[in-house]
Structures are given as C-alpha cells and as structure tokens.
Amino acid sequence: MNDPVDVLIIGAGASGAAVAWSLADTKMHILCLDQGGWMNPAEYPSTGRDWEAKFYGDWATSPNIRGRPEDYPINDDNSPIKVVNFNAVGGSTVMYTAHWPRLHPSDFKVKTLDGVADDWPIDYDTLTPFFEENDRMMGVSGLSGDPRSPLTHPPMPPQPLGLSGPLIGKAMNKLGWHWWPSDTTVATMDYEGRARCINLGHCTPACAQGAKASTDITYWPHAIRAGVELKTHCRVREILTNEHGMASGVVYYDKDGVEQFQPAEVVIIACNGVGTPRLLLNSVSGRFPNGLANSSGLVGKNLMFHPYAQVYGFVKEVTDSNRAPPTCLWSKEFYDTDLSRGFVRGYGIQFGRGAGPVFEAVASEQKGILPWGADHHRVFRKLNGHRLAVSAICEDLPEEHNRVTLDPVLKDGHGIPAPRIDYTISENSRKMMDHGLARGREILEAAGATDICTNDPIPWGGWHLLGTARMGTDPGRSVVNEWGRSHDVKNLFIVDGSVFVTSGGVNPTSTIQAIALYIADQMKQRLANLFD
C-alpha cells in the first residue's frame, strides 16, 4: 500500500491543476493522479507537413476516434452531440480553442431573472477575485471595456484583427450589433516563460509554440515547484470509503497496469462532467449502492453541452485561413433573455477566421459545394482562404433526462465500465439554435458571403461537459454544497464543470477554473473544521 497523503486530486486538467496550485501553499502532502502523461510539444501536429491530416486521426477531438491508450471510450450513440476531450497532463486545455469568456453575473440567477432552472448558490462577485487570479495564471490576452461583458483586465493586448476580423467587424457594424475582441489564452507577448503567438493557426490540437495556455505549462510547473506530486498514467477505478462513510482513498491502475490503493485524507475529483460522474457511479459500496455522493440521485443527470449552431460562408476577400488563431472576436448581442425571440436565455457568438486547405476540401466536399471532376479546381480556389464562420454557443438548460450513466457493455483498457451519454436537444435550445442560424446567415450576408452552409449542431461539438454533479444548498437537489464538498461524503470535493448549475452561453473553462480556485480557497479557510 502507498503511504497516505493529505490531499489526493484525481485529474490534472483545467480544474485539477488550479486546485493543486492553490492548495500547495498549505504545505500539505498533495498528490495528483492522471490517466494521461506529459505531452511533448515537439510532436504536436503543427510541427509536421501532415498537420491537418492528424486532426482526423491521432489528434482527433473525439476520444472514440483518437483511441490513445490514455483515452477511455464513450458511448455517445444516443446523442446528436458527441463528446470531445483530451486526456493528458493539462487535460482538455491541451486541445481547445483558447476562447476565454466568463459566465455573466446574470447567469448565476436564472431562476430569479427568468424563472427557469435554478439559481446558483454562489454569485459572480464571489468568483471575481478568482477569475482575476486565474487570468493572471493562465495568461490572457484581450481588450478591457467590452460594454456587454463582465469587466476583465487581461494582462496582454488582444490578438490582431488580421484579415478576417475587419470583415466581421464591418458586417456587425452594418447590422448595428455588438462585437468585441475575444479574451483568449493565446499569449500575444512573451509571458511567464511562454513565447508569444506566431500564428501557427492550428491552435485547437495543441500549440507547438507554447503560446496557448494549457495547464501543463501554466499551473503545473508552479504547483510542482511548490511541492505537489503528480503521477501520470495512473487511472483511478473507484473511490473507497471507510466505516464512517468518509472517503479513504482510491484504487487505481499504475503505469504498468498494476492495481494500487492510495489512501488519502481528502479526495478531490477533477475529471470533467463526464469523467466525474463515471467515477462516482463506478464507486459503489454497500453504503453507497447507487454510486458515491449520490443520495440525491443526481450524479450524472442534468448534463449540459452547449449546442453549437454554426453558419459559415465564403467572401471574395482573402481571410486569415489557417494563418491565425481560429477565434478572435465574440458577440453578446443575443446573450440575454428576450422573450419576443420565442425562447428563454440566449447565446454568445464565436467568430471563426477560416480553415486550412485540407479541412476546407474535406468539409466542402462533404457539404456538396466542392464538386468532383474538372470544376473541382476552380471551385476550390473560390472557397479556400475565403471562409468566415459564425457559431452560436447556445445555453443549455439542465434537464435530468440528459445524463451520463455507465454503459453495461463498453469498458476502457483497464476493464472499467465506460460512460454512456443519453442526450436530446430541448425545444428551447432548438429555437435558440434556429435563431442563431438565422442571425449568423444575416451576418455572413452582410459580409458579402455566398455558398452559406450550416452545422446544426456541430456534431463533434461536445466540448463543454457541465452539470452532472451540480452544486446547491439542498442535499436533495444537488450533489455538492456551495463550496464544492459532497453533501454525503464530507472529505470528498468536486471542482470541475460537473458542479455547474446552469451553463451560460459561453465557453466555460475560465469559469471552471475560477470555481476550482474558489473551492480551494474555501478549503484553506476551513482547514480546522473541513469535515464538520
């Protein structure tokens, strides 16, 4: 048996890294286990001539396609939106677009404001210092002063507008709609040991330059220097409990596949909105027959994805294509509830600068706008390097039938039951998506685009895994309390996107990490009576 540790963190991604770094100043013995390993930027796709082809294989966003030993399979056949993630030190911050909006203050009070779902047990102001701290740690670029977003103070200037930004800006101005340079975690100047962005363009599947913040190059070096221990290629099977109903430690498979028990005084789960309920549901015992921390029956339920309604088209002007970070602008024009639109809540808009030649050829051929035969060359030259995209990130409201359960058949490489996703797009989300598609088309037409196509939803768009172990003050209606501690198991904490009560209409990583830092701060303030 391994020596006991004070704090055991499961998962070294966005939230696990933040909480590890924050807790390090307690000088407790902190160990983090991650099923993946350290990535080698020298092997990232943009270092090779086959950089685009890798996106369809070893660097696919879906773990089911990618199939690395570090991945676990996910049965998402019963969902129009497929789960995408990455499993390594850094987690899905290795493979994300680095778009960095925050939830709005109003997102925490949806029941009060709009009469739907539930209010959060915490508010925006509570998280403000942790948003700021996280922005400094991750290294954010942006422009302060957006009139329709929470005030931020990015430590670096925004990305250049490039060729695509002005085309979008002019179109939005023509329509009189809000737009603003996005906050992103792309370093626009040398920052804390990270080199500035040189526009490799292929940002999503990892940044070879190290300009895009991922927690393997932001939080983890600091946490390790502060004494946190990180063991890689260790996949946790289940959390065990003792006769007092407290978590006693975890069973995991080490890098050689050998089963190990790691005792711990405190267990923190940071495995994302699919991995966390999977682990809890796999942690069954006589005392917890329906899975750990599941007296509410809500573990795995209320899964929220953010359905993406995407519209794209092709302008006469040359766009940035693959020669810039893919996202540079957002719009909050349709973010807040306006019941005249026929739905409640709203969506953010994320603009896309373009795509590389292989992606363009494959996507356009599949859509039927790039023909086979002699005319292929003419049409391709009209499309390639001329794409603009508009994506509505629609707020998904919590619904219990959207859920993560354990698949009765599918297992990972260690024989651990895999997650199964059952998810449908609600009528409210459907109306919101239709609205987003119509507005996206208007934007593109204002930009002069033709050959307009849609992805409705983006099928491999399940980046944002939220709500499956929600926080709340009522143990009958939530899994963790307002500072992340399980209602049922008083030395068990959850710090990832599972704790979201509602989803907002923006990319959630900034908020996920702010919540992780907030929970770590709450733990530090309550160390003397953490389990009361």
């Binding site: 270092t47 369809y56 009139p147 329709r148 250049p160 060729l163 800006g169 086979w372």
Partner: protein
C-alpha cells in the same frame, strides 16, 4: 493490417482521378499522380480498413475494374458510391483530399507555403481598430443579477 491489393490500388487511382483530375489551366497533377498515390498508400494507417471497405463497395458497384467502364457508367457508379457509401466512402474521399492538398505542386499552385506551420508561423496584420469605435460608443448594458 494487410495492404491494398493491386485491384484495389487500381480502383483507388481511378476514383482519385475522378475526384480531382489533372489541370493544365492550374498546372496541377490529378490525385492519381504517382507521388500522391504513394503518399496515400504509405500513410493509410488507421484508415486502411474503412478505405478497403469503400473500395470493396466500389468494386461491387462497378462489377469490374473501374477503369474498364465507359465514362457514363463510371460516373454513375461514382455518384452512387458517394451518395450511399457512408463513412467508408467519406473516409476514402478524405484520404484522397488530405494527401492531394499537401503535395508541393498543389500547394505551390495555390500560393501556399511548402512547410509546416511551426516554427516559422505567419505574420498577422493588426487590422483597422477604428471599426470598434461604434461599439465603444454604445452604453454599457450588461444585465445585472
């Protein structure tokens, strides 16, 4: 994972040329070019099984080597293959496209750099920031909780 048979290679070459024929106008080879075909065969990797499945489907539709069909019949087979070939056909087409659009001659014709993005990267214009002035002039209207 076995390699493609000679018949499968022949059909792959034929269908590739139907997808992207050579062009004198743009001074580019077709996707049946020997170097591009060699790239496909060398890098099939995890796509091998689906590509073989697609080629088997193609062979069933054609009833004989694709190249042996007359033009009208070949076009009809290709249309049905693309319409009903599912994931396997989509994979074959993607393999053709991803190898074609990384060939030096093709990239040169498109005016693209013959290199990986890293380490040189690209220069991005700063753009016209005055476009943001109308947005800045709007009153702040963040919905409060």
């Amino acid at each position: 994972m076995s390699e493609l048979s000679q018949t499968q290679r022949d059909d792959l070459r034929t269908i590739a040329a139907m997808i992207i024929p050579a062009s004198d106008e743009y001074k580019v080879p077709g996707a049946d070019d020997p170097a591009i075909q060699a790239d496909m065969l060398k890098t099939l990797g995890r796509d091998s099984e689906l590509v073989k499945k697609a080629l088997d489907h193609l062979a069933r539709l054609a009833g004989k080597p694709l190249a042996a069909l007359d033009v009208a019949r070949r076009d009809a087979v290709a249309t049905e293959f693309r319409a009903k070939g599912g994931a396997a056909a989509a994979t074959l087409v993607r393999v053709v496209l991803q190898c074609y659009y990384r060939d030096d001659r093709v990239l040169r014709s498109l005016g693209l750099d013959l290199r990986a993005p890293f380490p040189k990267g690209y220069v991005l214009q700063d753009g016209d920031w005055s476009l943001l002035d109308p947005v800045k002039a709007r009153p702040a209207d963040l919905r409060r909780a």
